[in-house]
Symmetry: C2
Subunit: 232 residues, 2 copies
């Protein structure tokens, strides 16, 4: 968090997805600048970025306002993510992967397998799984050979539940959640297998299904679920 712009950005992201602003509130450069103790210049750059991320929308002459994000919106963003991840998987299957990429994917799978087998307490299980999950998804997207996928994904990755590898987790029913994670894990295994066998269509189909899985929890993103996301 070195620059003022980044500072405003991360604070504002948190506040917006936290629901600190009402959708009818007018958010102006000056107000934000005052609130954050910075000048208008970084405030306006941050607000423009927030708009590009889909969290705010610009009113003609009345500043910005938070875009009301409902579960359907989250679902739509996840749907976009899933076709992008699907394309990434297909590309990696068709173009092949480097030894390093393969190693990373295998490591991620090994780690989550070990976690699921062991009887870790809830927090450790989830934290560890989340970590491995993010690595799997990021490795795949960032090494698929088409950098425009990552580039395009930038536009939605900061929306709630939309970051790569985000997990929604209900801590109240550990056993059930463990089974659910196992399903996700098995899909990772299948995806890697399809990539190794250069089966683009299978890799894509499985990845789309897998990436869309978060969708089932989209309507619960405010509820008794814990949303575990790496960065905002």
């Amino acid at each position: 968090m070195t620059t003022h712009v980044e500072k405003v950005l991360s604070i504002m992201r948190r506040k917006v997805v936290n629901g600190d602003y009402n959708s009818c509130d007018r958010i102006s450069e000056v107000a934000i600048a005052l609130e954050m103790g910075v000048s208008r210049t970084p405030a306006r750059i941050a607000l423009a970025a927030l708009e590009a991320e889909g969290l705010l929308e610009k009113r003609k002459g009345r500043g910005y306002s938070v875009r009301p994000i409902q579960s359907q919106d989250v679902a739509k963003a996840i749907e976009v993510r899933s076709v992008l991840e699907g394309l990434a998987a297909r590309n990696m299957a068709q173009n092949g992967m480097t030894a390093d990429t393969k190693r990373r994917l295998q490591n991620s799978i090994r780690q989550s397998a070990a976690l699921l087998e062991s009887h870790q307490p809830s927090d450790d299980l989830i934290g560890g799984y989340q970590q491995a999950n993010v690595i799997f998804h990021e490795t795949l997207m960032n090494n698929c050979g088409n950098e425009f996928i990552t580039h395009t994904f930038e536009r939605i990755r900061h929306l709630p539940l939309t970051a790569l590898g985000t997990l929604a987790f209900r801590p109240t029913n550990l056993d059930k959640e463990r089974r659910r994670l196992s399903v996700g894990h098995s899909q990772h295994v299948i995806i890697l297998d399809a990539i190794e066998k250069r089966d683009g269509a299978r890799a894509e189909a499985m990845m789309r299904e897998h990436s869309n899985a978060t969708l089932n929890y989209a309507d619960l993103f405010v509820g008794d679920y814990s949303v575990i996301s790496v960065d905002l």
Copy 2:
């Protein structure tokens, strides 16, 4: 072209895709500001936007430089566009379309059909077809019910050959090109049919194929082809 930022943006887009800059050239705020006769502030904002569009890349302390866009890069961007358009087609098929959307799509198809039947001279044919083509693609993407598709697409739509409905056209062989356009036209017909019959999978598959068709010309985007694009 009211604001300075927009002015710099459109001029720079043109210059970059035109190849006016070499990939090793350092592009700095000050240089652009001087060249365009504006101050640093709008220049900065425009350069940041250009970076977000994938046309420039930022060096740590040495300003920006044009990202060398080769045919493979264009192909990759088109591949991303095709999965986004495919998803849009699927969504529209699954959710149904409004009467207005249907009318627009039908009008576009009617217009291109009429153009292909008549024996127009080259320019009129291409111009008219392009117009109808853009309407078809934009209507579909903007009315599919998932605004994040358009939102995400923003990130690549200014790359060469990547705008919705862009046509690459070789004016030297009119008859062959007319046949090629006919193929595209028939795909529009099929896509609309699939949407009407609520066949999401067929709509998506056809749209992906159709949208990828530009890809065949990606490696020729500098050559004796005329690239017809609406806006930069």
